[in-house]
């Protein structure tokens, strides 16, 4: 399943070819490293799910993920132990995570999620540890845990942007902490300043430095041209070995008759592109589409011509070369379709305030709306135009608008490429600036150019812009795709097929252990009830014994932190427009499991306290705890085939051994 993505990217690292992904690089780098250390040579193609690995050495990568996945159990155990100071609560949490089929399945394969969850839990654990060190600030262990939190935050952020939520959690916790310190009048302001500085250092600067370092490694390792080139600016591409811009030699000045590609200067801007398809009916004039396209393609090629005369065959040596100059009026002919870049006063498809840009005319003959004035930023008229280095603006002669890319994604009819418009507002933005990237003109001598090398900060910024831009495009749900809805997740409504569809296949199905998940769900409700009742009781001034006071502190403070974590890792998904999958819930599920441990432990203790001092108290507590653990283990026994694979008839078939376990119609194992 998704192993095809992340395994492949691991291979890219080993082969050092540049690629592009919407997630930050740490997770894939670690996978690559694990593969490298275990002797995987990066040659397996990862073509499609279900392909056999044959002789390739993939166990290292899987083992690495599985190892991190199994680390979750001790991490969660320690966290709960620290929060509740209660061994049973911690054990319960550990049992839940050990016996949850979903967690097992997810950590068995080459995926980013186990890595993400490892760092996430690491961050939570060290945050909690750090909180409990609060009574001896600036001690060695305090520094250790604090900086470990920072390291883990960087790790979580570096694997997937979902790590942002845990950063938020830690941030809120730190703010609460600082607020507390501020109210402590025994602390001088200088001391407070020290506290503040320490946190800034460990929780902001350290993670940022690590995160940047990660990208530095990423760009250093990947120095060969690969499939991700087209997403980046010309300057960036020139850094990659094997890219056609690396140590490039092209004719330096653009001339009439040259064949060129034009790249938009906005981050992740794309090449000026056209294809045979027309704008659909009702969207401006029904002429040929012009878009911005992120990939390299023959349809990105344009020929520069004079506006008034057709330059004769450029290969004809008898005609002298004439260079294009700043301020010239030119025509751009699309090489494949021989139509001219054209604009007119129709609304652009998405940005209604701009004009539509089309390709018009037959075999290069169009009308006066095909004329564009070419201008170089910051130059006087008459200057020549250089490839790659000149920032060029194309002004439509008839309407005075400027050719630009809005960065919006066209719907299906435009193949989800980016919109190109002609903007009547003359603002100086990279959106409306272009540079020439490829340049073919047989009559001109090729000159070796070294393009301005981008600084690391520029590369970093650019790669993030591209991630955001592409993330928005690629992850929009397709119309007919049935996506998973966030409300499906906590109720374990529908799983995810990892491998195998048919009856004879070896099937793995990602589905949480329903008993555990429903227990978690009920617990969230219970926890809320518990919190409200304790809070009201405290507010009403009910006298509690010291034991109960300690319990309610655990509920309110410890449980509150975990609950906040759950909310932060779950609620944002409701607002996301991207494609969502079931496995996105797993970070939240970790929090939910910890909450279950804490809540049931305190609940049973409360029950016991009300029954005390009779001996039944201990019995009730013990029996309740035992019942929960047994329930979890038994349910695991029932559902374990899900994660370790099933062969045989589908469960919808009544004769299957799993048929009795198909408790919800939406499960498809």
């Amino acid at each position: 399943w998704d192993e095809t993505h992340f395994g492949k990217m691991g291979s890219y690292y080993i082969n050092r070819t540049f690629f592009f992904d919407v997630h930050p690089p740490l997770g894939k780098m670690l996978i690559g490293l694990a593969g490298y250390l275990s002797g995987y040579d990066g040659t397996f193609p990862f073509q499609k799910p279900g392909d056999r690995y044959e002789q390739h050495n993939y166990m290292g990568m899987r083992g690495f993920c599985a190892f991190l996945g199994s680390c979750l159990v001790p991490l969660a155990y320690l966290t709960v132990l620290e929060l509740s100071k209660s061994l049973p609560a911690a054990l319960l949490t550990a049992f839940i995570l050990i016996f949850d089929t979903g967690c097992i399945t997810l950590s068995q394969y080459i995926l980013l999620d186990p890595i993400l969850m490892f760092f996430l839990m690491g961050a939570v654990l060290s945050m909690v540890k750090c909180n409990s060190c609060a009574d001896r600030p600036f001690s060695a262990s305090w520094w250790f845990w604090m900086s470990l939190t920072g390291v883990n935050l960087a790790g979580a952020m570096g694997v997937k942007f979902v790590g942002l939520f845990v950063v938020l959690l830690v941030g809120l916790n730190t703010m609460y902490d600082l607020w507390d310190l501020l109210g402590n009048l025994s602390l001088s302001l200088v001391m407070f300043g020290k506290h503040l500085l320490a946190r800034v250092l460990c929780l902001i600067l350290l993670p940022l430095a690590l995160y940047t370092a990660m990208f530095a490694v990423h760009f250093t390792v990947l120095n060969k041209s690969g499939p991700g080139d087209g997403f980046f600016s010309s300057a960036f591409q020139s850094q990659l070995i094997g890219n056609n811009l690396h140590n490039i030699s092209v004719p330096e000045h653009v001339a009439y008759g040259s064949v060129v590609t034009m790249k938009n200067l906005r981050m992740a801007g794309g090449y000026l592109h056209s294809h045979w398809h027309l704008y659909p009916e009702g969207i401006g004039a029904r002429q040929q589409q012009v878009t911005a396209y992120l990939h390299k393609d023959l349809n990105n090629l344009w020929i520069i011509k004079k506006h008034d005369s057709d330059t004769a065959d450029p290969s004809d040596p008898s005609i002298p070369v004439e260079f294009v100059r700043h301020g010239d009026i030119i025509r751009l002919e699309h090489k494949e379709t021989s139509r001219n870049l054209h604009s007119h006063q129709h609304e652009a498809p998405l940005t209604r305030k701009h004009f539509q840009v089309t390709a018009y005319g037959i075999n290069g003959t169009g009308d006066s709306n095909d004329f564009w004035r070419i201008e170089v930023v910051g130059r006087k008229s008459g200057k020549l135009i250089r490839v790659l280095r000149s920032q060029v603006r194309l002004t439509h002669v008839a309407t005075g608008c400027v050719l630009g890319s809005s960065g919006k994604i066209l719907p299906k009819w435009g193949w989800e490429q980016l919109e190109v418009t002609c903007t009547p507002y003359l603002k100086e933005t990279p959106n409306s600036l272009w540079n020439f990237e490829d340049h073919i003109n047989s009559k001109l001598p090729n000159i070796s150019l070294d393009v301005l090398k981008p600084s690391f900060a520029e590369i970093l910024l650019e790669s993030h812009m591209v991630m955001i831009q592409v993330g928005n495009t690629a992850l929009k749900p397709k119309d007919n795709e049935v996506t998973s809805k966030p409300w499906h997740w906590p109720i374990n409504y529908q799983g995810l097929r990892f491998s195998g569809v048919n009856e004879t296949d070896y099937r793995v199905y990602l589905l949480g252990n329903p008993v555990i998940w429903w227990l978690n769900l009920v617990t969230i409700g219970l926890y809320l009830l518990l919190t409200v009742s304790t809070a009201v009781a405290l507010k009403r001034g009910v006298q509690l014994t010291s034991e109960l006071k300690e319990l309610s502190r655990v509920v309110l403070r410890g449980g509150g932190q975990i609950m906040l974590g759950w909310l932060l890792h779950y609620l944002p998904f409701f607002m996301m427009g991207r494609v969502l999958y079931f496995h996105h819930y797993f970070p939240a599920m970790l929090f939910s499991s910890m909450l279950t441990g804490i809540t049931w432990d305190t609940l049973l203790k409360f029950c016991a306290a009300f029954l005390s001092p009779s001996t039944t108290a201990r019995k009730v507590y013990g029996a309740g705890f035992l019942a929960l653990v047994l329930l979890i283990i038994y349910s695991f026994y029932l559902f374990h085939p899900l994660s370790y694979g099933i062969i045989g008839p589908m469960a919808s078939d009544p004769s299957s051994p799993m048929a009795g376990l198909r408790w919800m119609d939406s499960w498809e194992f």
């Binding site: 607020w179 501020l182 109210g183 009048l185 302001l189 998405l350 940005t351 209604r352 305030k353 299906k412 119309d479 007919n480 049935v482 529908q494 009201v536 507010k539 009403r540 001034g541 607002m575 427009g577 119609d665 939406s666 498809e668």
Partner: protein, 728 residues
């Protein structure tokens, strides 16, 4: 007893002249020349059509919001005797004589005018001085954008009115809470809070934000009540229940009642019928009800039926077949079965008729007594005109190659046997023996051999090419993942077949259905369906010429041209008072900075201002800054088309903050008398600039007088404003 006889009856009337004068000024500013431009202004074109539909009692669905606002506008039309006969098709179209423009615009204008005294009262209830209150009211009065928005048939001013009313009544209630709980006026203001909230939500869903804010504030205040240990548990419970009743139950009930009135008023079928389910349509007078009236309820073997896809997207369509066959090879080279096409057809047609046949029997008529089809029964579906059987097999469908092709079976004798048995599964059944009912039952057809489900896949947007007459594709979905409406069908037209011969049957199929049974949908069922449709229906997301992004609003980088005189250059724009907007922003910023400063200082036990002043400061800010934030920030997450007028509720709260901050500065930060008087002078100067800007922009607020080109150019204070200048 009879005490009143011993003492004279005295009626003491207190009139707050401030409020009276403010109301009067509000009325003048909003009502003056109300029916000028006698033409359709901006979104009137949108709301007007709903008013017309109300007048004609024709059912409609508006996805932009709940019906209460439309109903209020329609009330204006009703009072003015509007007959609904006007074609709302173009902004700027001249109103005909039968349109009572004045009364249509009256309600929004009244609501807008009343916002002025409401603002005054709110500040008084927040315990600020009358001077500050007067300032707030005047700022609202002189806010050009609020004036423009109130003077036309638009909903924002009504929304703002209800929002302010809700805030005011909550404040009144809260101030009464301290000394006279459960008194008459305590109840009155508490209930009014709930009512105003539900009205606000009923006008536009934006009202929800303020409602939530008030709930949160009420929750916070109640939390303090809980901490009050002089109260017994019982009276605490009473407090809790009273709030629950007034702030949750009553608003919900009122909200539902809006829909009740809406559905009672609109009983005729109309343009939006096809969005609704057949059952809903059948409850409307005319339209489908006329056709389905008197159909037999239970589908039996031999029934002649039309099957409508429940999804209804992109358009409603019926299961259809015709004599043409699938092309042997598609354009992309894939092969087909070359059997008769089955499609989903968006129009009523005789080819939409199908006959339910018992696989075990040959006859195509209903036996006497009819044998009803139940959940789980296996049937064959026979196409009425061609008498071919609905069939699916393991051949890729034309547009969705992952699904099976559905065809009407033609026996080419090429070892491709007929697979035409379908199991009827009633989705909304109550028991497993339910009978398949006309209109009411939603049915899935599961293919017996392959367990594929009959599905209209047209919602993906693609229609069949020329050979399929651009009709929508029907497929057998192999992966019957859960429930999707495209796989569910219901019987719309239905009759018991009587004719034995094919010729007779064709005549019968062409004839309209008759017989008698009426169907009624309960109100709650209608309500849930309509509510669901309003929430899920999405108009195509388009960028409008005057649409803007939420970020543009704070600085007012955008405007909306509402109307342009057909000949002169008189025009109306939604443009705010620049000084007010800027000072409102400054006030909000200042408030937040000062609060943070005080908060940190208080944490270190340094008290700059007295405790009661701090409480005032916090509660005023909670309402004003909170109101601004909840009405503004959510727009950043919204994907719909946004306009400047969406900012007006937030702006109103922000304006209320200005005098609060000003008074705070003069009371607590201006320590010396000299400073204070200088500050006062500054305020006077600032206020005159507000008035000056109001006067400057009033020509584009009221639409008269018409300005010359240079004057218009002078008004273009920001480059991004789009003021219309006629080319000479």
């Amino acid at each position: 007893m009879l005490g009143f006889l011993k003492e004279p009856v005295v009626v003491t009337v207190e009139i707050n002249m401030n409020v009276m004068v403010l109301t009067l000024m509000g009325l003048i500013s909003r009502l003056w020349g109300l029916s000028y431009p006698r033409a359709v202004v901006f979104d009137e074109v949108y709301y007007g059509q709903f008013v017309s539909l109300y007048m004609k009692r024709i059912f409609f669905v508006d996805d932009s919001g709940p019906p209460f606002g439309h109903m209020l506008l329609a009330l204006g039309g009703y009072l003015g005797g509007f007959d609904g006969n006007f074609l709302w098709n173009r902004i700027g179209a001249e109103y005909s004589m039968n349109v009572p423009v004045w009364s249509l615009r009256l309600l929004p204008a009244l609501a807008g005018a009343l916002c002025v005294p409401l603002a005054y009262q709110i500040l008084v209830e927040l315990q600020f001085s009358h001077c500050a209150a007067l300032g707030a009211a005047l700022l609202i009065l002189l806010e050009n954008s609020l004036i423009t928005q109130s003077r036309f048939m638009l909903l924002e001013s009504i929304l703002i009115f209800f929002i302010l009313l809700a805030v005011l009544s909550y404040l009144k209630f809260y101030n009464l809470q301290k000394h006279s709980s459960f008194s008459g006026s305590w109840w009155f203001w508490l209930l009014l809070t709930g009512v105003a909230c539900s009205c606000a939500v009923g006008v536009k869903y934006m009202g929800l934000f303020t409602y939530i804010l008030l709930l949160a504030i009420a929750g916070l205040h109640f939390w303090h009540v809980i901490g009050d240990q002089n109260l017994s548990n019982v009276s605490l419970m009473c407090h809790f229940l009273a709030r629950g009743l007034a702030l949750i139950i009553i608003p919900v009930a009122m909200y539902v009642s809006f829909f009740y009135v809406h559905l009672t008023l609109l009983y005729r079928s109309g343009p939006h019928d096809q969005i609704m389910t057949s059952a809903f349509q059948a409850s409307l007078e005319g339209g489908l009800a006329r056709i389905t009236q008197g159909q037999p309820l239970e589908v039996a073997y031999g029934s002649q039926i039309t099957l409508r896809n429940v999804l209804g997207k992109p358009m409603q369509c019926w299961l259809h077949s015709h004599t043409n066959t699938y092309p042997i090879r598609y354009e992309n080279g894939r092969g087909s079965s070359h059997q008769q096409q089955v499609t989903c057809y968006p129009f009523k047609d005789v080819n939409n008729w199908w006959i339910v046949k018992d696989p075990g029997m040959q006859q195509l008529v209903v036996s006497n007594p009819p044998r009803p089809v139940r959940h789980g029964h296996i049937v064959q579906l026979v196409h009425g005109i061609t008498t071919r059987y609905l069939n699916t097999h393991d051949v890729a469908a034309p547009l969705s190659p992952h699904s099976q092709e559905v065809s009407c079976y033609i026996d080419y004798n090429i070892s491709m046997p007929a697979q035409n048995l379908w199991r009827v599964e009633i989705v909304n059944r109550e028991s497993d023996t339910d009978v398949w009912k006309t209109i009411l039952s939603e049915v899935r057809f599961v293919h017996v051999n392959t367990s594929a489900v009959l599905k209209a896949s047209g919602f993906t947007g693609a229609s069949l090419p020329e050979w399929g007459y651009r009709q929508l594709e029907v497929v057998g979905e192999k992966l019957s993942k859960g429930y999707h409406q495209s796989m569910v069908w219901n019987v719309e037209e239905h009759r018991y077949g009587k004719s034995l011969e094919q010729k007779e049957r064709e005549v019968e199929l062409h004839s309209p259905t008759q017989m008698d049974i009426s169907k009624n949908l309960s109100f709650m069922a209608k309500f849930t369906e309509l509510q669901w449709k309003i929430l899920t229906l999405k108009n195509e997301d388009t960028e409008h010429k005057y649409s803007s992004s939420a970020l543009d609003w704070v600085t007012m980088d955008t405007n909306i041209a509402y109307w342009l005189h057909p000949t002169s250059s008189a025009q109306i724009h939604l443009l705010g008072n620049v000084v007010t907007w800027a000072s409102a922003n400054a006030a909000a910023l200042l408030y937040m900075c000062l609060s943070l400063w005080y908060l940190i200082r208080r944490r270190r036990k340094i008290y700059d201002i007295p405790e009661d002043a701090w409480q005032l400061w916090v509660s005023a800010g909670g309402i004003c800054v909170g109101g601004w934030a909840v009405n503004y920030l959510p727009f950043f997450g919204m994907e719909k088309t946004l306009f400047l007028y969406h900012y007006l509720p937030a702006l109103t709260f922000q304006i209320l903050l200005i005098p609060i901050v000003l008074q705070h500065i003069s009371d607590h930060l201006c320590r010396s008398v000299l400073l204070k008087s200088m500050f006062t002078a500054l305020i006077v100067a600032w206020f005159s600039s507000v008035y000056f800007v109001y006067c400057t922009f009033s020509p584009v607020t009221y639409g008269e007088p018409s300005l010359s080109v240079t004057e218009l150019k002078d008004l273009r204070w920001k480059d991004t404003w789009n003021i219309l200048i006629r080319k000479q």
